[in-house]
């Protein structure tokens, strides 16, 4: 009799149940700022497809639930709440720091892990919470960037920073200002909101200086670069946010010589990155951006964590990451988390040469 019951239950389970791990992803997927969100989404889809095709994690397939925060805080909060309601194991997101900052209180309240591939804002650094990020906080990179610009004998710069991603850009601006002014430099600040204002030639003229630093999205930075170069500005620097092939497309020939602060090296010899890049190219017919790369690194970390813990509770995930600390990356150096879930920065600079991103250690 017991055998009959067991058989029945097994049949019912086979016919009714699906063994899967739900993982949420939220990023800005629409609008002018959506490029990096889409890059991350495509890398994540590719990563989870690969895991599922290889049999899943402990035999369980990953079910990815995607939400668009639309670069809107309210939509971001709503999206995260929906994902929590969908009973996801963890959330990957957001891509821009402003959105991350808006939803961190919710994930901490609900005790659900959120791993951001690209949030670099220093505002979320050194906090023992449920927020973990794969990109290192921008502070150190920005400071180094400021030092190198100053070393190029540029004592005065204009900084145009986009308030649509205020968390990131303001943070970026403050760090740079602090370091650059400490060195003796002078800064002309030009905050603007790309979601509300048109990027105009007039604005470009306003910010034109010996050196201009653009802290905005790839398209906006690209367009501004054209305006600035046409106005005679020779030294254009960009924050890592603009580091995307879309920048070159938008800036055209004026992209030549533009320098980016970054912790992403497209020219790394890391075999895993090369393989990832090939797969990404094959699949999407475009090069992966830093956003795609960090998103894929996030998948690598999630795969390792979920493969090595038995219960998928947020505390177990967090404990594993903070205990293990060092994870494989797609860059030259491994990702090394501190006790707050922030990785150690490995700063580099990127320069555009012949429409390609070239890695440089010093400016």
């Amino acid at each position: 009799m017991k055998k009959i019951i067991i058989l029945t239950i097994t049949i019912l389970l086979i016919s009714c149940g699906k063994d899967e791990i739900k993982i949420g992803f939220i990023a800005n997927l629409t609008g002018k700022q959506s490029t990096l969100g889409i890059d991350a989404r495509d890398a994540i889809i590719m990563g989870f497809e690969k895991i599922n095709n290889e049999g899943g994690i402990k035999g369980k397939k990953i079910k990815l639930i995607i939400k668009d925060d639309g670069f809107d805080k309210n939509k971001a909060i709503e999206g995260v709440k929906e994902l929590i309601k969908d009973d996801v194991v963890l959330i990957i997101g957001h891509i821009v720091s402003a959105m991350s900052l808006a939803t961190i209180p919710i994930i901490n309240e609900k005790k659900i892990i959120m791993i951001s591939p690209t949030t670099v804002s220093n505002e979320v650094s050194s906090k023992d919470d449920y927020f973990i990020r794969v990109s290192p906080p921008a502070g150190y990179v920005i400071s180094l960037f400021a030092q190198n610009i100053y070393k190029k004998n540029i004592k005065e710069v204009s900084i145009a920073y986009d308030l649509s991603n205020k968390t990131y850009t303001e943070d970026w601006y403050n760090w740079f200002k602090k370091e650059f002014e400490a060195l003796g430099g002078r800064i002309n600040a030009f905050p603007f909101d790309a979601s509300k204002e048109k990027i105009s030639r007039e604005f470009a003229k306003k910010i034109a200086n010996k050196a201009v630093i653009l802290v905005t999205s790839p398209i906006n930075a690209g367009l501004l670069t054209q305006y600035l170069k046409q106005s005679g500005v020779k030294n254009i620097f960009c924050a890592g946010w603009a580091l995307s092939p879309e920048f070159i497309e938008t800036a055209g020939e004026y992209s030549e010589g533009v320098i980016f602060s970054s912790n992403f090296d497209e020219n790394t010899k890391n075999e895993n990155y090369i393989k990832f890049k090939e797969e990404f190219m094959k699949r999407y017919k475009r090069n992966p951006s830093f956003s795609s790369t960090h998103a894929y690194e996030t998948i690598m970390i999630i795969r390792e964590v979920l493969s090595n813990i038995d219960d998928y509770s947020s505390d177990s995930i967090k404990k594993y990451i903070l205990t293990k600390k060092v994870f494989d990356s797609l860059q030259d150096d491994k990702i090394e988390f501190d006790e707050f879930g922030d990785p150690k920065p490995v700063p580099i600079f990127i320069k555009i040469k012949n429409s390609n991103f070239i890695t440089v250690r010093n400016l």
């Binding site: 009799m1 029945t8 049949i11 019912l12 959506s34 495509d42 054209q226 699949r283």
Partner: protein
């Protein structure tokens, strides 16, 4: 080899074979066949819809290419700006019209945007790929001004003309609520879809199978699976994908599957219920019956098995009860028989034992213990200790013969006791089969005392016989003396009558003497063989007592008859008297023939003495001592006498008497 399977397993196999497997097979086949048919149907439908949509799109894009070409034709004309402005204003789907120089720098835009003049588009895909020959349709691109996804149509002449189409506006033209489809660029990014979000999010579609074949789209795409048809839009290097939601298409299959699943679940539930009922109504009672049988096997025959709802099971319960009662009766009978057997075995004054072919003792009754002094436990499983050494070989041989089937009764033998003395025994041996083993049952009757008594009797008999022989011998000798005295007396007597009387007496004494002589000489002291006796008597008579002047022949016809000595003596005297009378009176010429017959006539003895003499008158001789004596002797024999005589025709005495 017999199949061993439990009823539980049989039920489970029955459940699987009879319901689950057929349902699963039905489920699988219906899924495969119906899914295949539906997929084919959807493919055809998709194909038709796709072609219709394709024509619509071609017409639509042809409209824009014609506009593009018309602008290009007028690009050097004076009114070009107004012309472009008008077109841009009138056609909502056009976001922007751009004219660039050969290096990709913007010369003109509509709507006019001074900021964009001079902007470098040389790295843009739609500029790089624009040719003089034909229109180029770009991949999805973010409009530099609006930040929305859009596509560009570009063509080169001296200058390059670029028209930017608003993808959101395209929806308003293509939208059809009944069908779903999308257009992808060559990077598989959706540039138009019936679902606007697909475009806005620049979703990328991963084609699992070859684009020319129906394929499924990854589940991440709207988290659904679709049956799709891909039609390439070669002119634009785009592709049209017509979607039909798999779940929707396969709804009938789902319904069939669900129905089958419900049936399966119902069947399984029913099977479980039936199995549970069977378990309750059959297996448990069977277990109960089994326990009871085990209980019975332990010797407790109280069967209080309650009846069950199953008729066949009740039959089994009845059978078990009957069996139990029968066993009980048999057991009692067996107990009675056992007791009887043990009592008989141990009460009978016969030593009974059961031995194996090899002589090993398996049974040993009380009397055996008593007779031979060995206790049961001393001999059981051991070779018999009572066989004397000198009889061992003989006993082994005997045992082999008995095993072969010979039964031996009244076999006199001897065995030794524990104390060493010998016992004379009368043995009975027979083979019996007990549980496939042939054993020998032996019964010994103790005849030791009888044997001793017999010995004594034998000795006593031998002494008596010797004495009796001596008596006969002495009687014979005395009769010899009397006969001699009578003879001597007759010599001195002259009276012929007296001499005749003395001779008659002498003959009679010889007749008796002959009896005693025979009794003395024979082994049997009480009986006389009459044929031998009569022969001797007749011979003695004719040789010693008849004068040689007589020519009397005699003829004997005698059966072999044995008579007690007294009857033999009387018989001899009768024969003596009759022959004597015949010789004296029957043959005047002293010549004749006498016949003597002694026959066993149906359990009676017939004595016939006849002569061929002159016969005699019965009345005249009636008072003679001879006939008187004959009648007396016949009477003493309890017999009858018949005298047949006729003058000149001889005489015949017929005497009949019992043994």
């Amino acid at each position: 080899m017999p199949l061993k399977i439990s009823l539980k397993r049989l039920l489970l196999i029955n459940l699987i074979l009879a319901s689950i497997i057929p349902l699963i097979i039905l489920f699988s086949f219906s899924n495969i066949w119906v899914k295949k048919d539906i997929s084919e149907e959807v493919k055809v439908k998709n194909d038709i819809i796709g072609k219709l949509v394709l024509n619509h799109i071609r017409d639509y894009l042809d409209f824009f290419t014609s506009i593009l070409n018309s602008i290009l034709e007028r690009v050097e004309s004076k009114d070009i700006n107004e012309y472009i402005q008008k077109i841009q204003k009138d056609i909502r789907q056009i976001n922007q019209i751009i004219i660039t120089d050969e290096n990709g720098r913007i010369l003109y835009t509509a709507p006019y945007d001074n900021d964009l003049i001079g902007i470098d588009l040389s790295k843009k895909e739609y500029f790089v790929n624009a040719t003089k020959g034909k229109e180029y349709f770009s991949n999805v691109d973010i409009n530099i001004a609006t930040g929305e996804p859009s596509v560009y149509i570009s063509k080169k002449k001296e200058k390059t003309l670029i028209i930017n189409l608003d993808l959101k506006e395209l929806k308003k033209i293509f939208c059809n609520n009944e069908i779903e489809y999308f257009i992808t660029d060559k990077n598989n990014t959706i540039l138009f879809s019936t679902d606007e979000e697909d475009v806005l999010q620049r979703k990328n579609v991963w084609f699992i199978k070859n684009k020319e074949e129906p394929f499924s789209i990854e589940t991440y795409f709207k988290e659904k699976e679709f049956i799709t048809t891909y039609i390439p839009l070669k002119k634009m290097s785009w592709g049209l994908t017509v979607l039909y939601e798999k779940e929707k298409a396969l709804l009938p299959v789902e319904r069939i599957s669900r129905s089958l699943l419900y049936i399966l679940v119902v069947v399984i539930i029913f099977s479980i219920i039936i199995s549970a009922l069977i378990a309750k109504k059959i297996l448990r009672p069977l277990e109960h019956i089994r326990n009871k049988i085990n209980y019975i096997a332990t010797g407790n025959y109280t069967t209080d098995i309650s009846l069950n709802g199953i008729i066949e099971l009740n039959g089994v319960i009845y059978d078990v009860k009957n069996m139990s009662e029968t066993i009980k009766e048999r057991e009692e009978e067996l107990e009675y028989l056992k007791t009887k057997y043990e009592k008989i075995m141990n009460t009978v004054p016969v030593a009974v034992m059961l031995v194996r072919e090899n002589g090993e003792i398996v049974e040993w009754n009380d009397y055996s213990e008593k007779l031979f002094g060995f206790k049961r436990e001393e001999v059981l499983g051991k070779k018999s200790p009572i066989i004397p050494e000198e009889l061992r070989e003989e006993t082994d041989k005997l045992r082999k013969e008995i095993i072969k089937g010979r039964t031996i009764i009244n076999y006199e033998t001897k065995r030794k006791t524990k104390w060493g003395d010998e016992k004379y025994l009368l043995g009975f041996y027979s083979a019996i089969k007990i549980a496939e083993e042939i054993n020998i049952v032996i019964a010994y009757i103790d005849i030791t005392e009888k044997r001793i008594l017999e010995e004594k009797l034998k000795n006593s008999l031998e002494e008596s016989q010797a004495l009796l022989k001596e008596i006969h011998h002495r009687i014979k000798n005395n009769l010899q003396i009397i006969s001699g005295l009578l003879y001597l007396q007759s010599i001195f007597i002259e009276d012929k009558i007296a001499i005749s009387a003395l001779n008659e007496s002498q003959k009679r004494i010889k007749t008796m003497m002959l009896i005693h002589d025979m009794l003395y000489k024979t082994r049997k002291l009480s009986h006389i063989e009459m044929d031998v006796y009569i022969k001797k008597l007749v011979k003695t008579f004719f040789e010693e007592m008849i004068s040689k002047d007589y020519d009397i022949k005699h003829e004997l016809d005698l059966d072999r008859i044995v008579l007690p000595s007294e009857k033999a003596s009387n018989c001899g005297l009768i024969i003596n008297e009759v022959i004597n009378n015949s010789i004296k009176y029957a043959f005047p010429k002293n010549k004749g023939k006498i016949q003597i017959k002694l026959k066993d006539n149906k359990g009676k003895i017939l004595l016939e003495i006849s002569d061929n003499g002159q016969g005699f008158n019965k009345e005249e001789h009636r008072k003679g001592i001879g006939l008187e004596l004959i009648n007396t002797l016949v009477k003493s024999l309890d017999g009858t006498i018949q005298i047949n005589t006729e003058k000149g025709k001889g005489t015949k005495f017929i005497i009949e008497f019992s043994y």
